[in-house]
């Protein structure tokens, strides 16, 4: 939205040309200038500039929704609001399960079962909606090479023997879990950025990143001076892209 070109914000052609001479081509550049600078750049009077500001703001401002509309949308499709973890006490505490449309973080000391939990969630997501799943594909970004396909099949076969009664079904399930092994921060970030198209093409409804901390700790030593800023930069950028994906597609991450 920020990078929206001024042309599409319904400004007149000559105004856009004039602004591009000062290298102001996107809404972001326009809104970052103060009123006096805008007057100088556009050559318009104070009131005109205010009207232009409103026009450009309207082009990139978010749309309003009341909290009531949001609630209605959620209640219309209650099953799509959460991914149940099938652990009843956990679901109760989480008010229904892992929420769709927001980021959930799982932390623990090593060996407690984070990767096992992620593997189980992947299985759950591939189940049909009638069994509490999402009936969709899963994207699994693995940075520790801890994902074991054998374990995946073991969990599926033992947990839902009635459903996964044939090899056919197991194979189908494994085909819908897309595994990406990334070993550096840059590649993780690049992979996150490229996820949007994959989500649409493969009909993904769950993204798991296992784990963020390991790859960050490997590369950024916090005792060195400049690294703290770079590390938080990387983390916040990744977080905002993931939040955008989660909200846009209403899927749990």
């Amino acid at each position: 939205m920020a990078a929206k070109k001024l042309r599409r914000a319904q400004l007149s052609q000559e105004m856009c040309e004039r602004l591009s001479r000062y290298q102001i081509t996107t809404c972001q550049d326009f809104l970052c200038l103060s009123l006096l600078e805008l007057m100088k750049v556009t050559g318009q009077s104070y009131y005109e500039v205010q009207k232009l500001l409103c026009k450009v703001s309207r082009a990139c401002a978010p749309t309003m929704q009341t909290a009531y509309e949001m609630k209605l949308r959620k209640s219309v499709n209650p099953s799509s609001a959460f991914l149940s973890t099938t652990l009843h006490s956990l679901d109760r505490v989480l008010h229904g399960g892992v929420p769709c449309g927001s980021l959930t973080e799982i932390t623990s000391p090593p060996g407690c079962g984070k990767t096992q939990f992620c593997i189980m969630l992947s299985v759950l997501a591939t189940l049909p909606v009638s069994m509490g799943g999402l009936d969709a594909a899963v994207i699994y970004i693995d940075t520790e090479s801890a994902f074991s396909a054998e374990r995946l099949i073991e969990i599926a076969a033992n947990r839902f023997p009635a459903y996964f009664d044939s090899d056919e079904k197991l194979l189908c399930m494994t085909r819908s879990i897309h595994l990406y092994r990334e070993l550096t921060c840059c590649s993780v970030l690049k992979r996150i950025m490229s996820l949007e198209e994959e989500i649409i093409s493969k009909k993904v409804k769950l993204i798991i990143i296992d784990s963020v901390a390991s790859v960050v700790r490997k590369e950024f030593d916090t005792k060195l001076q400049g690294n703290l800023a770079e590390r938080s930069n990387f983390l916040t950028r990744g977080a905002s892209v993931l939040k955008y994906l989660a909200e846009e597609f209403s899927i749990p991450v």
Partner: protein, 367 residues
């Protein structure tokens, strides 16, 4: 009328031409008329007419201001201000200790900043305030609507439903206890659906959308004149990452602060911002301080810092023009923000959260 041409809000090119042609005061411009002006400077007649209209508007505005009428600059005596402040309502937070240190609650026409580490309850407090601003006047509320601008995506509708349901039930209890007619009438319009439909939610993904939204807010507030609370949840988030040019950031933040002050004053609304904490590394230790730097500290009138002390949540009033610095403890229950129960009260047999609703309200009922 003697206003200099250079101070008029005309386009800079036009101003330069007027200066080159020798015009010095606005009166000269008006005397020349549009045709004369267009011939002297070499602009079209329509442009000249437009410029003259702007000049006339400005001069009328000036005259009105010097005559002591209402305008951009408001003059009033301190007595009038005192009366205004006393009749002004506060937005309560349902935690009486917090209301006490704030002097009654969140004040209208002021900017309140809530800082805290992640998970301490900033968004919870904002959601609580968005519900509390709608409490009808006969129950001690402000009867307004709320605008919620979310930059972090931490707004959960289900949680607002919980908080709103608890608030409605609380008002029902008071109405039953007091049995007054206007209480009953107010309750008819104070239901869950009404509360939710009066919270206007905007989701801003980055700082450009936030800037755009704040530019459009005055218009929105004029259309929805009942709005009494503007919450910006996470003003630090879009400005913290990916910003190489720190001076641009400071400039944008200052512009934002000024616009919010104008909005707060013009529309008699309270503005609540939430800020993140950052670590300042000193010589021997590191302390948590509010993010966005020292210059941002001047933007807010009232600053509240929420922090942990072992497992107890505390709120400290860090900056306020009228109240002194103090710290209180609070709780976040399934019903929202509440006081901490003193140990004398017995807990429910299942060991569930104690029901603190009666306690914070008794002071208000006596009013």
């Amino acid at each position: 009328m003697q206003r200099e041409v250079g101070t008029l809000p005309l386009a800079p090119a036009l101003r330069a031409r007027l200066a080159a042609a020798g015009f010095q005061t606005a009166q000269e411009l008006l005397d020349t008329g549009p045709c004369g002006l267009s011939k002297e400077i070499g602009i079209s007649r329509e442009e000249a007419l437009e410029a003259l209209q702007v000049v006339r508007q400005e001069c009328q505005g000036d005259a009105a201001r010097t005559a002591g009428g209402s305008g951009a600059t408001r003059k009033c005596t301190a007595l009038e201000l005192l009366e205004e402040e006393q009749t002004q309502g506060f937005i309560i937070t349902f935690c009486s200790a917090l209301d006490n240190i704030l002097g009654g609650g969140v004040q209208l026409t002021k900017i309140t900043e809530i800082c805290g580490a992640p998970g301490v309850g900033k968004t919870q407090l904002c959601m609580q305030l968005a519900v509390d601003v709608q409490i009808p006047e006969c129950f001690g509320g402000v009867a307004g609507e709320a605008v919620f601008i979310d930059t972090e995506g931490s707004f959960m509708v289900d949680r607002v439903v919980d908080i709103a349901a608890a608030c409605v039930q609380h008002c029902h209890l008071i109405a039953e206890a007091q049995q007054e007619e206007d209480h009953r009438k107010a309750l008819e319009t104070f239901s869950l659906e009404d509360i939710l439909s009066h919270i206007y939610y905007f989701r801003c993904r980055d700082y450009t959308e936030l800037l755009a939204q704040v530019y459009l807010l005055p218009e929105f507030l004029s259309e929805h004149s009942k709005v009494r609370l503007v919450v910006i949840d996470g003003i630090a988030f879009p400005f913290r990452h990916d910003f190489e040019d720190l001076s641009l950031r400071t400039r944008l933040l200052n512009g934002l602060a000024q616009q919010l002050i104008i909005i707060a004053n013009d529309h008699k609304a309270a503005v609540v911002l939430t800020n993140q904490m950052t670590t300042r590394i000193g010589q021997s230790q590191s302390t948590l301080v509010p993010a966005l730097g020292e210059s941002w500290g001047h933007a807010a009138t009232v600053r509240l810092i929420l922090h942990w002390d072992n497992s107890q949540r505390l709120a400290t009033l860090y900056k306020s023009p009228s109240q002194k610095e103090s710290t209180i403890a609070y709780h976040i229950t399934c019903h929202g923000f509440r006081d901490v129960q003193p140990p004398a009260v017995t807990h429910c047999p299942e060991g569930a959260e104690p029901n603190p609703r009666k306690r914070p309200r008794t002071e208000e009922e006596k009013q």
